[in-house]
């Protein structure tokens, strides 16, 4: 055995590793397609700000972004990284495909249902209730798979607890959505459901953008940022407080909020109290992330970590903007720009930055993992060309910030120009992902990846044995 004095803990002989999630690339492809579609709509002046915040066209745009882009991105990432957080394998590597198809079909029906509200497709019976059924079935399969993955790993390490809370929030968000769809589709006369559909939209948004997307992104970022920057994993009380305040915020907003909706009371108090709790959580999170960047052992950090700073700065800016607007009594008309900055600066910015690393890393692992040690292999960084990608990321973030300003001052034409710049930047970034995935830059630098199997663009091949 090991020499005396090493103190190695030798008890785990068959510790499980993590394999590649087969359909994660398919989720990323679907998600990026939705992002391009959403940006195209914004360039065309479809939905907010050209239409009202609650107009059917805005609902179409918002759900292409939140379900098509962000939720599919997050689900695809979680199928790969939730197992990493707990060092176990995914419960099922097959279920993600039917889940993806159900979510896509449900999203299509949902969008068609919204268009019906706008007076299109009016000859058909309302599609919203069936959209609710199909979408919730898709997310139920996602939740089942990730839940069965996480459940045996209890007690969960902290980042996984963020993810678990995010998944509960996803279930809540979908539940609200199904209630809205049922009521808007005129399938129910239940008074509590009508009350919820009438007033609970802020709860749906808070559970979706706050609980599901932001909390999950925070949890995964703790681990990924530490991993890619060689920083020590965060311990201590602060990350626990971040989660505790976030959960408290969610409980106050959703539980107290539902109580308020059902008793006809104002949502102002739970929303305000929830915002304050969420703010404390986010400030503590910000302190943690600053600490991670400072404690890193790699002095030079890669593009993905540098661009994540812009996303985090967008999150901070959205908070400052919220309070500035509240202070000037303009909170309600400033809601659009704040949500835009959160969705495109923070969540989408972080998503695109991390994808830049994730796509290259997963592709590298798929192609070169089996031959490591047996032949010379490129490094992960050899799959990407950072100086070429950098300009697209800069353009993306500048366009998002410019678009936020244009929205704030009510310049719809300027906003469309910003959206066009975002679209160009996004396509540029996606082309970099595709080049990494297809090993184009490895080929350009060497004799090419002849000795390894070429990866498929849309999914990972199962291991050879």
């Amino acid at each position: 055995m090991a020499p005396a004095g090493t103190g190695v803990i030798p008890k785990e002989k068959m510790m499980l590793g993590v394999t590649l999630s087969r359909w994660t690339m398919s989720y990323f492809f679907a998600a990026l397609s939705a992002l391009v579609a959403a940006e195209t709509m914004m360039v065309a002046g479809f939905g907010y700000p050209a239409a009202g915040l609650r107009a059917p066209e805005t609902l179409v745009l918002v759900h292409v972004i939140t379900i098509g882009w962000l939720s599919l991105l997050m689900c695809g990432a979680l199928f790969q990284f939730a197992p990493v957080l707990i060092a176990r394998r995914l419960y099922s590597d097959t279920l993600p495909l039917p889940a993806l198809l159900l979510v896509l079909a449900g999203l299509g029906l949902l969008l068609a249902g919204f268009l019906q509200l706008a007076g299109w497709l009016s000859t058909l019976p309302s599609l919203l209730p069936i959209a609710g059924v199909v979408l919730s079935a898709g997310f139920a399969v996602v939740l089942w798979n990730l839940g069965r993955t996480l459940w045996p790993a209890r007690p969960l390490p902290l980042p996984a607890r963020f993810v678990a809370t995010g998944l509960v929030s996803l279930a809540l968000t979908v539940t609200f959505g199904v209630i809205f769809a049922t009521v808007l589709g005129q399938q129910t006369n239940s008074e509590p459901l009508l009350a919820i559909a009438g007033a609970a939209l802020p709860l749906h948004v808070a559970a979706g953008i706050g609980g599901w997307l932001t909390l999950t992104a925070m949890g995964v970022s703790y681990r990924l940022l530490a991993m890619f920057m060689l920083a020590p994993e965060l311990g201590g009380a602060r990350p626990k407080l971040v989660l505790a305040f976030a959960i408290a915020a969610l409980v106050v907003v959703v539980a107290v909020g539902i109580g308020a909706v059902l008793t006809g009371a104002s949502l102002l108090i739970p929303l305000l109290a929830g915002s304050i709790l969420a703010l404390v959580s986010l400030v503590l999170y910000g302190a943690d992330i600053v600490h991670l960047y400072r404690a890193r052992r790699r002095r030079f950090i890669e593009l993905n970590s540098r661009m994540a700073i812009f996303a985090l700065a967008s999150l901070a800016a959205a908070l400052v903007l919220t309070f500035a607007l509240a202070a000037f009594g303009r909170f309600t008309d400033g809601l659009g720009p704040v949500v835009f900055l959160l969705v495109f600066g923070w969540l989408s910015g972080l998503g695109l930055a991390k994808l830049y690393k994730i796509v290259a890393f997963l592709t590298w692992l798929e192609c070169y993992g089996p031959v490591l040690g047996r032949m010379t292999t490129p490094r992960v960084q050899d799959l990407v060309v950072e100086h070429r990608a950098r300009k697209w990321f800069w353009l993306y973030f500048l366009a998002v910030w410019f678009g936020t300003l244009a929205m704030l001052v009510g310049q719809a034409a300027a906003f469309r120009i910003a959206a066009a710049a975002m679209l160009v930047a996004t396509i540029g970034i996606i082309s970099e992902f595709a080049r990494a995935r297809l090993l184009s830059d490895v080929e350009a630098r060497s004799d090419g990846p002849d000795a390894v199997r070429r990866p498929h663009l849309l999914f990972s091949r199962p291991p050879a044995n």
Partner: protein, 180 residues
């Protein structure tokens, strides 16, 4: 149905730098029905929890002061196999409780950026003889390395050092160079 607990104090072994894993496994094997194990250790033996869980034990860990831990392992119903792929690896590990030789090679990969630690480990393994052991220090659990080791038929044991930040993995190379 009450569970009685058999005591096992591995703190002296750990303080001497020894490895109590085999002792713990023997104590577990000797347990009767409705018997659990009360383990005293100098740290919270998290990786052991997974092993014990696969044997159908639940655990309850309590810090008892001065960094020492008391862990109660209670027998329950055997848990279902979590993945089909676990079975062969577990079986292979179970079948081999023999002593491993001292490490032939040592690697300190703590300051390398991922996935370089994995690249180096796999590269060194390819140069080693059947039965030799490689010891590697890492700054986190190498979860993407394990499937590669499994595919190549090697065995490994790993865990965090008591400092909680260094992960040490021992890999026993199980291929014949000629056959590889």
């Amino acid at each position: 149905m009450t569970t009685t607990f058999v005591d096992l104090d591995v703190r002296p072994i750990l303080k001497d730098g020894g490895e109590p894993f085999d002792l713990i496994m023997k104590a577990i094997a000797a347990l009767g029905p409705n018997q659990g194990l009360r383990l005293l250790a100098t740290f919270q033996p998290i990786p052991l929890f997974h092993v014990m869980k696969s044997k159908g034990f639940t655990h309850e860990a309590t810090e008892i002061g001065e960094g020492d831990w008391e862990v109660l392992f209670t027998p329950g119903q055997a848990v279902e196999a979590e993945t089909p792929t676990q079975a062969p690896a577990a079986a292979a590990a179970e079948a081999d409780d023999s002593k491993w030789p001292d490490p032939e090679q040592q690697l300190d990969n703590r300051d390398l950026e991922p996935p370089e630690p994995m690249v180096r480990v796999l590269a060194v393994i390819e140069t080693m003889q059947h039965g030799q052991v490689l010891s590697a220090l890492l700054c986190r659990e190498p979860i993407f390395l394990f499937p590669e080791l499994e595919k190549r038929g090697h065995q490994w044991r790993g865990g965090f050092e008591p400092d909680g930040t260094t992960y040490k993995v021992l890999i026993r190379v199980l291929h014949n160079k000629e056959a590889a």
